[in-house]
Symmetry: C2
């Protein structure tokens, strides 16, 4: 992983953040024209190492073919995996999704990228993806937002709110609880039923000592994140998501969508509780009504919201077809 000093950033909240550093991974080689780049935007608790968490998509011969494309993924501004965030500055200013995108743009400028063949990402990465296409229309040839929104929904704000409350109530164990709440919303009824059902930890446990496997799983996931993620960064990113609204200061969402020049592949997930398929279809439809080129595809998966991280094969096919149909491959 590398780190780039990208200078000062004027944040949407009015504060100026000096000497910003952005951690990133790059795969493949940037061509001389600087126009063969692909940008991956990571979701809430992941980082710049996209070749780890999106392994099926990135590499020689894969859909994000590193023999052909210069594939970049950077840790978000406000994150805790190498980029400037609450660990470096206290108090850390309010960050928005637009600020994250602006930081990524300053990074790409420094790297000599002139055009993005594709911006893609799911969930919080999808918020950035759609923001990219609106903020820098001529810089983005294609974009693929997944399991995401142009304006965070009340349901998603509600879940962010309770995760925030968990941390406020108990700064020591709160992040683990927030993660446990998150994990339930990221998966589906079917998956939990198939994987855990009513299995208990000790088969011969008395009623009093009954501890279900789903509980062990959630505990484990909570503890794991607690050990690797900064709680202030988590709060910072949740707030950025809540505030995400492509229409802010642009005359509303529809007017914002009209700025887009990119061809769009919008990806929904049939079992997504947090960004349900009807919301995904609505955004695709809004784009279509704004006269944009948009392809809507839906992952069929028991993995719920997390399907965009799991269903590499389906996703590869969607992206391959999209690239081919839009002259990219």
């Amino acid at each position: 992983m590398q780190t780039a000093a990208i200078g000062e950033i004027g944040l949407e909240c009015g504060v100026s953040l000096p000497a910003v550093e952005i951690a990133y991974e790059a795969y493949g080689t940037l061509n001389e024209r600087g126009d063969n780049a692909i940008l991956i935007c990571h979701p809430l608790t992941l980082d710049a190492q996209a070749d780890v968490w999106w392994q099926p998509l990135i590499g020689p011969g894969k859909v994000l073919d590193t023999r052909r494309y210069y594939v970049i993924c950077s840790n978000v501004l406000g994150g805790c995996a190498g980029s400037t965030g609450p660990q470096a500055h206290r108090p850390f200013p309010l960050i928005t999704i637009r600020d994250m995108v602006r930081a990524q743009k300053q990074l790409l400028d420094r790297l000599g990228v002139k055009l993005l063949q594709l911006v893609l990402g799911g969930s919080m990465g999808g918020l950035q993806t759609i923001e990219w296409a609106v903020t820098y229309p001529s810089f983005v040839k294609r974009c693929a937002p997944m399991a995401t929104s142009g304006q965070l929904s009340a349901l998603a704000i509600g879940y962010n709110h309770v995760m925030r409350s968990a941390i406020e109530n108990d700064p020591v164990h709160g992040l683990a609880l927030a993660r446990k709440i998150g994990m339930i919303t990221y998966r589906s009824f079917e998956l939990f039923e198939a994987r855990f059902g009513r299995e208990i930890k000790q088969e011969d446990a008395s009623l009093q000592d009954t501890w279900f496997q789903i509980e062990s799983y959630l505990e484990h996931m909570g503890d794991k994140l607690n050990g690797r993620f900064d709680v202030n960064s988590y709060l910072c990113l949740l707030k950025a998501m809540d505030l995400h609204d492509i229409g802010r200061g642009r005359g509303g969402a529809v007017a914002a969508l009209e700025r887009i020049e990119a061809e769009v592949l919008w990806v929904g997930i049939d079992t997504d509780h947090l960004y349900p398929p009807q919301e995904q279809r609505m955004w695709a439809e809004r784009l279509r009504q704004s006269g944009k080129q948009v392809t809507y595809c839906e992952l069929s998966s028991p993995y719920g919201h997390d399907a965009f991280l799991v269903e590499g094969q389906q996703l590869s096919k969607f992206i391959t077809d999209f690239l081919r149909e839009t002259g990219g491959n």
Copy 2:
């Protein structure tokens, strides 16, 4: 509201609970044969006052017609609205749904009820309803479980687990947080979107001061429950739900269902996240495969899991038709 002393109860966990009292409401008059009774089982945070929270269903000329039926609703064992629970005994023993049903049976025996024309309830009340039909087959002529299950799912256990964690992490504010988590799962994406969307409290608030209406709503719901509900009772009832399994000690769920003699109206909700419609249809199908008379109806509503408390008109029609088709009206 009245309170009845129902004596000692031998609990499923092995403990014997002496001098149990059960608070109840009764509407209408029990006939001489004692066979015109209807029992309503309340959900997690409600109480015996069914004429308040199920007002569209109960009264003269309504579907649960008090000129014809003797309609009873009692606060559950372990509750905090008049019945024996953690406020009376410390430490309070482990309670199961079966124990709640046994306590209700002892109450009905004391009141002279010989046969239930109908047992009905949703969510935790539905767990009791189906348990009633299995535990006392010849006592229950009809039953109508709603938005519920014969064995609590992994997803529902997961949500109960995080609500429990919230209380363990912060005994003072934890119940409010648990309620906030609960409220999100009880409603639907569509409802929150239509009612709150991205409305903020102060229209001209800066980004820093943005406070969404959905957050105010959740805060309000959390505080409200915190003021009226006992936290130990809440924990006791969550655990009872987790442990709910009609098949325990009976050779599994299918064998348990085969005991049922009642005609069954199973009610699902199309937008239920917590007890999703596919789960509801599965239980109806299982009953059918066990050779039982079962009618499956689905509420169409944006209210999610809470629809069984809101959609009085649809529910009245389902129950009216069911009673007519099974010779009850």
